[in-house]
């Protein structure tokens, strides 16, 4: 017998719990002792008839407040099909539970109160269901008994909902008029609405097609566990996310890109244990894939996030990203916009709070192997975890349109070779340590001036140095990049990688980049060993920068010929804990350089004079 998982959503007081209670009651899924308990509880609450909502409002706090506060799973079966209901709350602050319930559902039942119409909360739930990839909606227009079973009212609401939902990605929408309280059209057809010719709610649920992934979908097997009971056996266990497995089949292991063949397959449903013909390195978090149709291996990605924590999303803060069986460190580098769920308009924002849905860009410390969420919910969905509290703070759905500049595919068939001559050998030869000094600050703060003076001083004392300046790189290596947040991130990424090369060559690398986003700077920092990266915040007031205007940029920005100018029309995120702050309004160039030299000496990179 097949299984349909559906979720229910609606506003507070739409009668959702009553509807589910009615569905269970009329389909004879409620047993005598449960019914007894509800009879008793109804009497305690002073209600004169059987309160069917009590069948589902399980927790004590819910009884007291008469609302549902968590996802509750219900199970029932008819001769035709088994059902799992994810019953989710209507109350606005529990939207995260709605998202949770929707993440595993094939279908959503959306409740609309016929007396109150299509409320923002109904729209929110419809939008979320669609965002979470549910392709079928059944809209139950409830409390038809309170509008005299009016056909006109029903069509009016059905039209309103269909108009709204036209912009969503439901494949099918059915609308059914019901009275959960009296049982009309829930399980049994209503005698009050002869004008309605469609199926009852249960009927629609019993006949809804169940989403099955296409049989020819490309193989995706995230490795969950490596079983090594004895020397001769090395098995890889996991739950098949798409495709099929047969002995002899060629597979690619990602992210390493290693190629092998399947030797044996043991499967119970989608739970499989495979062995391979070659001894390749496969561990938890790797993915076995169709060699011809691979997922993207990405360290940068675009996604929609549903924020589920009370504290807001912090751009640039490290979170832990869990995707299939892989955990990697991740930063949100940029928030594109949030979605106003009433109008579905994209609203520019720099913050996401509890229950907000936003489009963001993320940067990962290690690659993940992912598909777009619309293609595969398992390989396209992820969660973010707060590493301090361990709480799950966000659900993420990876964009389908790729690759743009944000979703940069990683070369997969590349193996890392250690440097031929190690940095330590080079440092011994030059007699000083390698290090990277990263100057960040507004245009006009004095970065380039200080960087040039510092390099000249160090070089004059016989140290091996290199200077990397934003303007120089943008003439060549980064000449293809503009000034959008994505391009800025890429500019800084390339600069960091170049600095890393000179660093490995034993140089003291002096870098001068506006680098306005904290996350971008932190990514560069992560390239270097602890203590070998000095973030220097070169600061000056906006007025001072404007009056200095060494490149005439402030003038251009003022007359409108320069868009996305940091400090005016684009943000600058001040460093939180830089190794050094140089206030160029108070310090002379000579004093600033002296502090930089002292900082290097204090770290043992260079000798004190």
């Amino acid at each position: 017998m097949d299984l349909l998982r559906f979720t229910t959503a609606g506003s507070v007081d739409d009668g959702k719990s009553t509807l589910i209670g009615r569905l269970l009651y009329d389909s004879q899924s409620i047993l005598d002792d449960q019914l007894d308990a509800v009879h008793r509880a109804s009497r305690v609450l002073g209600e004169d008839r059987l309160n069917l909502a009590l069948l589902t409002d399980g927790l004590r706090a819910e009884r007291e407040q008469k609302i549902t506060i968590d996802v509750a799973y219900r199970y029932f079966a008819t001769p035709r099909r088994s059902f799992i209901i994810a019953d989710t709350p209507g109350h606005v602050q529990y939207t995260r539970n709605m998202v949770t319930g929707a993440s595993t559902a094939d279908l959503v039942v959306i409740l609309i109160d016929a007396t109150r119409g299509v409320l923002p909360q109904s729209r929110r739930h419809a939008f979320l269901s669609s965002l979470l990839g549910i392709s079928q909606a059944v809209v139950a227009i409830n409390k038809m008994d309170l509008v005299a079973f009016s056909e006109e009212r029903f069509h009016e609401l059905a039209r309103e909902f269909r108009t709204f939902a036209g912009a969503l990605s439901f494949r099918s929408i059915d609308v059914v008029p019901v009275s959960a309280l009296q049982g009309d059209n829930v399980v049994d057809p209503s005698s009050h609405m002869p004008w309605y010719a469609g199926g009852t709610l249960l009927n629609l649920l019993e006949h809804a097609p169940i989403d099955v992934p296409p049989a020819d979908a490309p193989l995706r097997l995230p490795v969950q566990y490596v079983a090594r009971p004895h020397q001769e056996f090395r098995g890889y266990a996991g739950t098949l996310a798409a495709g099929a497995l047969v002995p002899g089949q060629a597979v690619t292991v990602l992210p390493s890109g290693a190629a092998t063949r399947i030797r044996t397959v043991d499967a119970i449903g989608n739970a499989v244990m495979v062995t391979t013909t070659d001894e390749v390195d496969i561990s938890r978090g790797d993915m076995l894939c169709d060699p011809g149709r691979r997922p993207s291996v990405m360290t940068r990605l675009g996604a929609h996030l549903c924020w589920m924590a009370s504290g807001p999303l912090a751009v640039g803060r490290p979170y832990l990203l869990m995707h299939t069986t892989r955990q990697v460190q991740a930063f949100v580098t940029h928030i594109d916009h949030k979605v106003d769920v009433d109008t579905m308009a994209q609203v520019p924002t720099d913050a996401l709070g509890l229950n907000d849905i936003g489009r963001v860009e993320l940067s990962l410390a290690q690659p993940i192997c992912a598909d777009g969420y619309r293609v595969n919910r398992t390989t396209g969905g992820f969660i973010l975890i707060d590493p301090q509290t361990n709480a799950t703070v966000a659900a993420g759905m990876i964009d389908d349109d790729r690759p743009d500049a944000t979703a940069r595919p990683v070369s997969t068939d590349v193996t890392w070779q250690p440097w031929n001559v190690s940095r330590e050998e080079r440092e011994r030869a030059t007699g000083h340590g390698a290090t990277t000094i990263w100057m960040t600050g507004l245009s006009g703060a004095g970065k380039t001036t200080l960087a040039r003076a510092l390099e000249r001083r160090l070089f004059g004392r016989g140290y091996r140095t290199m200077l990397l300046d934003g303007d120089q790189l943008r003439h060549g290596l980064c000449g293809d990049l503009g000034f959008s947040p994505v391009d800025r991130a890429e500019n800084v990424r390339r600069a960091g990688e170049v600095a890393k090369l000179f660093f490995e060559q034993g140089s003291i690398v002096v870098c001068a980049f506006v680098s306005p986003y904290r996350a971008d700077r932190d990514r560069v920092r992560s390239l270097f060993p602890e203590g070998r990266f000095l973030e220097v915040f070169v600061s000056a007031s906006r007025e001072t920068c404007r009056s200095r205007d060494p490149k005439g940029l402030y003038r251009k920005a003022a007359d409108g010929s320069l868009a996305q100018f940091t400090g005016l029309s684009a943000p600058y995120e001040t460093p939180v804990s830089p190794e050094l702050v140089l206030d160029t309004e108070r310090l002379s160039i000579e004093e600033s350089v002296a502090r930089l030299v002292e900082a290097l000496a204090a770290r043992g990179v260079i000798a004190r004079t």
Binding site: R228, P229, F233, N390
Partner: protein, 279 residues
Amino acid sequence: MVAQFERAAILFSGGKDSITLTWLARKAFAPARMPFPLLHIDTGHNFAETLTFRDQFARDLGCELVVRSVEDSIANGRVTDETGPSASRNTLQSVTLMDAITELKLDAAIGGGRRDEEKARAKERIFSHRNFFGAWDPKDQRPELWQIYNGRKHPGEHFRVFPISNWTELDVWHYIEHEQMPLPDLYFAHPRDVVHRDGMLMVNDPLIGTLPGDTPARLTVRFRTVGDVTCTGALESGAATVADIISELSAARTTERGARGDDRRSDTAMEDRKRQGYF
């Protein structure tokens, strides 16, 4: 799950759900061995049949079995026995369980709980986070999306993991039939001395004492759940095989926990016990 935790154990009661769970776990790791032991919290009020079965089952499957007993918790003063005719050690076992989790340094206790059993369990996560005191906070549960389970925890905290959350009672029986799994005889119809009490059929045993209105009888009964002698009600049944039980259940008009005295104490009895560390 095993990949996310260091020390796990299956909470094994000798009931059909924990038997099913152990069966599944063994198959999941085959041909390797199941990398965790069975932990049984012995209340001292278990059916003798359960204990015999437990030992035999663990031996046959080659599982390590660890037993910790409520008797010991009482003896060393951790808990005090309830008294009176409806006395039960059901709430006491939470203390023994927490002590065992601390002693064995478990960071994951795997249980056979199913969401269809009871209202409070309907809201349980598959990975259920427990704080330092083993308590469950239903208002602060981690959202569980797709099949991604967040098992991150601070030192001293642990998880209860419920792999068969989404199975129903009937699913369990169908699986038992399919796998021809061994079960304690208690689940099948047998003659037994019982007493009628408060609409339930209790085992006629000194442990349950006597109350006015008790009517003793000898009937052919079986048990739908297996807990303590003191709180598990029998039902009159002629179901002698798994197939009989499946057809009996398909026509049943009461839930399996309807015969559990521990849930009938109050409407939120299960939720209250879970908040205190019950599983």
